[in-house]
Amino acid sequence: MAAGNLWHTLTEPLVDKNPITLQILGICSALAVTTSLDTALTMAISLTVVLVLSALVVSLIRKHIPGTIRLIVQIVIVASLVIVIDQFLQAFFFDISRRLSVFVSLITTNCLVLGRTESFSRNNPPFPSMVDALGNGLGYSLILCIIGSLRELFGNGSILGFQILRTVDQGGWYVPMNLMLLAPSAFFLLGGLVWAIRSIRTDQAEAPEYAPPETAERAG
């Protein structure tokens, strides 16, 4: 595969085919772990690592996986990698691992991981598969970081623990918004982000399901 093609595979999932904002995959974790930027970053890195390694393994044995049980084989591979990552986090980043609670283990069931192994790694050689997985992991990470930093900034007035907006409790002016620390705000932010991206890239917008009825004003 040519270098330009690889570059395309890597950059396409960042905005044009972003797994979260275009395909709406993996939003469960995007909602759950983005209350602060450090958990979002940890989750993004974990998922990217799992995604790239599982792409490598699945792609290496792609000609030997029986078609009928391929999903089971893929899940076993992903789950083993997730356990490794989970143990690693518990060993070296215990505090963050505790705050991420069950969501690192739930990478196993992330549609994004299974979607990439099923649709790309199964049919492509190892190196392009890893590039594709890395691109998708970075696309996921990008959205997680945007939402995580917005939620932490408006919910606590800080980013990565550094106080940016001094809150009222600390003698500043900013009244922290509790809603930002609750799950609905992630829905609103994600929806707003999808809206913004699709307003700029109109080719991503879906066709309307209904045509609005003729109104009296329009009919004259």
């Binding site: 002016w173 009244v175 918004m177 509790n178 809603l179 930002m180 609750l182 609905p184 609103f188 809206w195 609005p212 109104t215 009296a216 004003e217």
Partner: protein
Amino acid sequence: MIRGIWDRETVALMLLAAAFPVFVAWVQADGWYAIGRLIFFLVVAGIWHVIFMLARAQPPSFAGALTALTIAILAPHDLGIFALLLGTSFGVVMAELAFGGWGRNVLNPAVVALAFISFGYPASNWPELAVQIGWAAFPAALIGVLTGVMSLRLLLGVAVVTVITLYAGVDISETWIAGAVVLVLMVCDPVTASATRLGRWAYGAFYAAMFVLFTCQWGDAAPIQIAVAAALLASLAAPLFDEIAISIWLYRRNRRIG
């Protein structure tokens, strides 16, 4: 709807006319402070309506003024300008304009804005409504019913549950003002209320029942928070009541005709 002069803006103007007694009572109670607040919210809502007119060719509506009035009466007093701006913008844009303007929205923008503020800034200081504002809700409902923009069935549904509540001995003397104001300003909005006959009864009764439930069980909430939460739940349930009413109608019709 009757043809002729009746279009969307006529309904919005009638709703504004119905809200007028509440507006007068509120200005008398709060004075110039109230006027300043109202102008602030009118400007915020107006700017969003103009932006959407320019960007999406959606005609601006007088319903925006009703939203502004409702938020001005009910929003907390000690919140910073940034929080009020954010809450109002969220309600007006996400609940109304993003759906294509007033008439196509699922939830009332003022309900969404106040719920947003209520969950976003739970420690804020909600206004204590003066008792005459609560009494002004009665002429407001009367004007609404006489001009045909508010549903009598809806109000009767509320009344039935209220009477049952009073007989059961539940104390709503602290909270009824907020409940009545929210009822005429937001719950009776014909766009987000149920549209079938049976659905309107159920919708009004459901709002009142939720309101009484929250009054009894939600100890540390302000009366306005209670009423707004009840209104939010009721308007979320409104399509369900319509669906049930239509199913019953279809069932009966199929039984009769075979």
